[in-house]
Point group: C2
Chain length 426, copies 2
């Protein structure tokens, strides 16, 4: 039944049915959680051999015979940099190895921008009364959290099927010197699942911001996180930027948090050779480099680029059935009600569900009441406010495979009930 132009009578009838189902589910006293984009146990087990791969002191020497257990090599061990340079599509001198959290690396770069500024900066960002970041939304809550934490004003940019609204971005950055950065998740965007089109990437690489120290934070978190052999591809922004001569404008990031261990991976930042030299100099003043033992552990485990893709195939085999269960339930549960929009992503960790505008919070609350925890509504928007109150981030990765369909079904029940309440003004 298409809810949006159904008769009041038909809606009331439907309401009774859906409410009954909701009551029945509530009676079960469930406790289920679909809120976090975490890998599940079987995924963490995949790299089991990595845990004990460095056994002897001799094992701890890298390709140059350097003992990774000691101080030194602050930019990371060369062989792992080469491997992930190949994955990220940059050269050996265009990559730097960080600690276990790429988000932390992004924060460090931005806070350095605040405190000391980038090479092109006239003054540190912190010396401005106010600086601004562009925030394509829905997006990654923790990107927005960093801006809020640092007092950076956020300007919401709508997400289109091709990526963020480039017309709006081009206009804004060309006019306002205080717009210093933008957050992007170019592939299987968190949470929309959208992959930026080639044209979008080219337009990013061609941006001419008024601020000479405008930076693109290109969080390529799901670069290799495909669910299918036939998958999305995002254009190599670093290559495009070489053509436009704007390589210093772009920092891209990835980590092995969802390749090896969420609690003990390695992260990477790629940029121009000039920027990486600047990072190397800057970070050599800020600490003593990151855990190289873990870097070598990762190198020995992956062996080569093929090793990375081989383990990603195994992750896909674990994740894919759960994504498919959720989407099947959504298709069945929402059917022709006309109250839900979602796309079937070919990778990443999320399904973005848009329910009837004005009912996302109510859907969340109804789910909570029957024991199903979803990501907080608004989390995917700047300042935690979803202006349409319509977006729910569905995170199937960390639920049991046998629970995925059920939880998704309960979500459809709650979203339908919330829609009916609204339409019936209950």
């Amino acid at each position: 039944m298409y809810y949006l132009d159904a008769s009041k009578e038909a809606l009331n009838e439907e309401y009774a049915l859906v409410k009954k189902e909701w009551d029945d589910v509530k009676a079960k006293g469930l406790s289920l959680d679909m809120s976090r984009g975490k890998p599940e146990k079987r995924q963490l087990d995949l790299c089991g051999e990595m845990m004990t791969i460095l056994k002897t002191p001799e094992d701890c020497k890298n390709e140059n015979g350097f003992d990774v257990r000691n101080y030194g090599l602050p930019t990371g061990i060369p062989e792992l940099k080469r491997l992930f340079a190949a994955v990220m599509g940059v050269g050996e001198k265009e990559i730097f190895t960080g600690g276990n959290s790429s988000l932390n690396f992004m924060y460090n770069l931005i806070v350095d921008g605040m405190a000391i500024g980038f090479p092109e900066s006239e003054k540190p960002w912190g010396k401005y009364d106010k600086i601004r970041f562009l925030c394509p939304a829905p997006g990654y809550d923790r990107h927005f959290g960093i801006c809020q934490h640092l007092g950076i004003e956020m300007i919401t940019i709508p997400m289109l099927p091709t990526g963020p609204d480039m017309n709006m971005i081009e206009k804004l950055v060309s006019e306002d010197e205080t717009i210093k950065g933008i957050w992007c998740v170019p592939k299987y965007s968190n949470p929309t699942g959208i992959t930026f089109s080639d044209e979008t990437v080219r337009r990013f690489a061609s941006l001419s911001p008024k601020a000479k120290d405008f930076k693109i934070f290109w969080d390529n978190a799901y670069l290799v996180h495909d669910l299918y052999d036939e998958h999305d591809r995002v254009l190599n922004i670093h290559e495009e930027a070489k053509k436009t001569g704007k390589g210093n404008m772009i920092f891209s990031f990835m980590s092995t948090s969802k390749i090896t261990l969420a609690g003990g991976g390695v992260c990477f930042v790629a940029s121009s050779e000039e920027n990486i030299a600047w990072i190397t100099k800057t970070l050599s003043l800020e600490g003593l480099g990151y855990d190289k033992v873990n870097q070598l552990r990762h190198m020995r485990y992956f062996k080569n680029v093929e090793g990375v893709y081989a383990v990603m195939k195994k992750h896909a085999d674990i994740l894919r059935p759960k994504f498919e269960s959720v989407l099947k339930e959504f298709n069945q549960g929402f059917g022709d009600t006309g109250i839900a929009r979602y796309i079937a992503p070919k990778g990443g960790y999320f399904i973005s569900l848009n329910v009837l505008p004005g009912t996302a919070k109510r859907t969340w609350a109804l789910a909570k009441e029957i024991g199903v925890t979803l990501t907080n509504v608004g989390a995917t928007f700047p300042y935690g406010i979803d202006p349409q109150d319509e977006n729910l981030r569905i995170a199937p990765s960390n639920v049991l495979p046998e629970d995925a369909a059920d939880i998704a079904h309960y979500v459809t029940v709650c979203a339908r009930l919330a829609a009916l309440e609204k339409l019936l003004e209950k």
Copy 2:
């Protein structure tokens, strides 16, 4: 021969002898390095069993059954926090676990001070035209490097046998609102080897700075790094600060870089419960926590506080003979020349050698010429300038045991030659 009031004739005679010895050493074509405070291979081998201590997925559960391979527990695993809380003399809620570099943690705190400020700050430190840090010197070059990097003005504080000059510190901080911090290495200070007296620690815990957001960065890098059973003890500043109610003024740091692995350890920050709650909140916005797999590896390896002290005894057995060789050569080589001052530290990683004022750089250059690399002169002072040109940081840890005496002897030859050149105005 006491150089300082010897006749010109006697000095010339001595010069010929020392120059001859220097020439002979030069002819050997040596290549030796005593510049870095790095552990040597045998020390890194001590924790060999830690490398493979987590074998199975089941091994990766902490005391609460939490799988440390996944996201979560951003303040660190509780059992390791408890262990190092005991080592650092604070409570469970007064400690936070960081990544592998405590220096990086210090930087993060200060750069956060610049960008967002501390809870007591009227405005972020970066909003001042200029802020200042007090820098007891000689001190740790990388502390000073952080200040220089962030544009923080450094005020040199002389080191006395009891620690930094507290009269000067008390006066300065009470007068100047822009003095926001001080660097301290309270035990076996890098490089002087001095341990702060109880009175010094008490006066630190009682400071009444004009700046409400003045912070003491108490780098307790050598807290457990004793060379002898009979060793220095530094008063617990957190306990003292509880008496004065100034616990929020103090952050103390340590890491396992020189306990387990310099290239893959774990670091800790201790402070008041209020500050640790603030750090927890702040860092939860800045990243996804630090490598918990490595934390659990460390926990399983140490088992308990006794485990930490047991491995430190083994480190001492490796380091002590080298320190003793160096000091013996210094005693013999400098003898009654009156040109050198140094103390025999009971722990830490350095011996601080003061040569005849105005000859440290020349000594360094003479050493370089015969193939002996020493820490750059001036590195131990703010802005890299030793005002007296007299301090050399001697780092015996990373030389071969059989080389320690020889290198130390060559240093005495170079320092004597430099002194004779100066006294003879050659």
